[in-house]
Symmetry: C2
Subunit: 289 residues, 2 copies
């Protein structure tokens, strides 16, 4: 697989999602011409950088027409519908074929540099520090569909010459409570509405959290500096969810009480796992691979 | 998962294919009412049992309408297009979603007893005797699509209560040269057209061959006597392809010379693998599982 020249044009799907909102400004400030794909153009009008990009309203489940793509156009595919219902049949029955067809159409039209967001859930019930070279064992429909999209695109590389960077994103700690489903967003809501208690699980489970800004930064480095492969987008540091919540309550100077053990632990997640970090903390670093 | 009562109505797709042609008469003689699905009704008219079944002309890539299905109707799904081009994108891009949607529609309409033909190719580059409990490592688009259809249906069992018997069929040794792509069919053609040489690979590779009649018989036992699971449909006995060819030349009393080493060994198949047999040789046996 030859290395394609890094394009200065990029198509970003899910551009008005939590990660996309943070990634688009980084791409713009680094000289990229951005085509931003969204299903909801009205909602996108509120974004600060709305006028700085070429916004394309499109349901990628239906079509990829209307996108200007050639071999110089990078693709950063963040869109994925139906979350957080990880066990919905929709991921396999609908999202998987439509996302594959969408990306295949762009690749057939010449795209040679494709970055797609995967998920740490692809690893399944594995405990401890996980390398991106580990075999995957997806155990929810969501995780299976993402892992399968990855593998289907690897087979597609036998027919088409393109670079595929598969970004397995770990847990997003969203400090300002935007549109993510993270526990911190839920905690912010509880604090803001002056609730006395915050109900949560036992909280002992160890996870790998990073901010949505860090995710966007790592995706940018991954897009610019790295080769074909699968990558962990993670902090590399385990933290208990209890500690994460306690830290955030302190930061918010809140008196909310945490009610540990209110919810059971999810049956589809291991008690302790975190990523081995692949993407360096500064520009211009290529990890050995 | 409860055991559904064995239905006496059955839908068979791929009914006019090599396996289907042999399976339908077995089902009929055991008292089944058969809906036989085919894409090519004209071709099906030549089948001896054409008038004994309810033939439904249908492209399962398009629809499942027109099939009479309820919880008492068994499904035996043998159809699969695009063979023998194992490395075609078609298997993943087209066959996988359309076969999944076809089966999902039948299951949503009440089908509770589903048998689907898989392939030994799902095991990938594994050497030696292979148990049906072995992890799969599909390495062609065909094998990946079959394995993925299996896994997608396993996830679907979380939403719907049905029994799934996944039949990984090994190599078909077709004695009378019908519409299979087996090496024996090719050999028969060469003998019939009085060719002097039969070009083949080195022939040392060990495989697991059974006749298409044996495949049909095992599928019938599997359908009637076994529980939910994945099963090898195989002989359980390794044989070199060279020996297989030599035996058949003797049986045909032919003088054709075999030209060993003319073709390279396929790059996607292990040198030696055969199945551990799951389905017994007589009726009414349930293997311990």
């Amino acid at each position: 697989m030859s290395k394609a020249p890094t394009p200065k044009k990029v198509i970003i799907t899910g551009a008005s999602g939590a990660i996309g909102q943070n990634l688009v400004p980084i791409m713009l400030s680094n000289g990229y011409e951005v085509q931003a794909v969204t299903r909801d153009l009205e909602n996108a009008r509120n974004l600060k950088w709305f006028k700085d990009v070429n916004f394309v309203q499109m349901d990628i489940n239906q079509t990829s027409d209307g996108l200007d793509v050639n071999s110089e156009t990078g693709i950063i595919h963040l869109a994925w519908q139906g979350l957080p219902n990880y066990k919905s049949e929709f991921h396999i029955g609908s999202n998987l074929p439509s996302n594959y067809n969408f990306l295949k159409a762009l690749i057939e039209r010449g795209a040679r540099h494709v970055l797609v967001s995967g998920t740490c859930a692809e690893y399944g019930m594995q405990c401890g520090k996980i390398k991106s070279s580990a075999p995957t064992h997806p155990n929810t429909q969501y995780a299976y569909a993402k892992d399968s999209l990855h593998k289907q695109l690897r087979f597609l590389q036998q027919q088409h010459d393109f670079i595929l960077k598969w970004a397995r994103i770990f847990y997003i700690y969203d400090q300002v409570g935007r549109r993510t489903n993270s526990i911190i967003s839920q905690l912010n809501k509880a604090i803001d509405s002056k609730e006395e208690d915050f109900n949560m699980s036992g909280g002992e489970q160890l996870r790998d959290y990073l901010t949505v800004e860090e995710v966007a930064q790592q995706l940018f480095y991954l897009f610019e500096d790295y080769h074909d492969g699968a990558f962990n987008i993670c902090s590399g540091e385990p933290i208990s969810i209890r500690r994460l919540v306690e830290n955030h309550i302190k930061k918010r100077k809140s008196n909310i009480r945490i009610n540990l053990g209110f919810y059971p632990y999810p049956d589809y997640e291991p008690m302790a796992f975190w990523g081995e970090r692949d993407v360096s903390k500064s520009k211009g670093q290529q990890s050995s691979s």
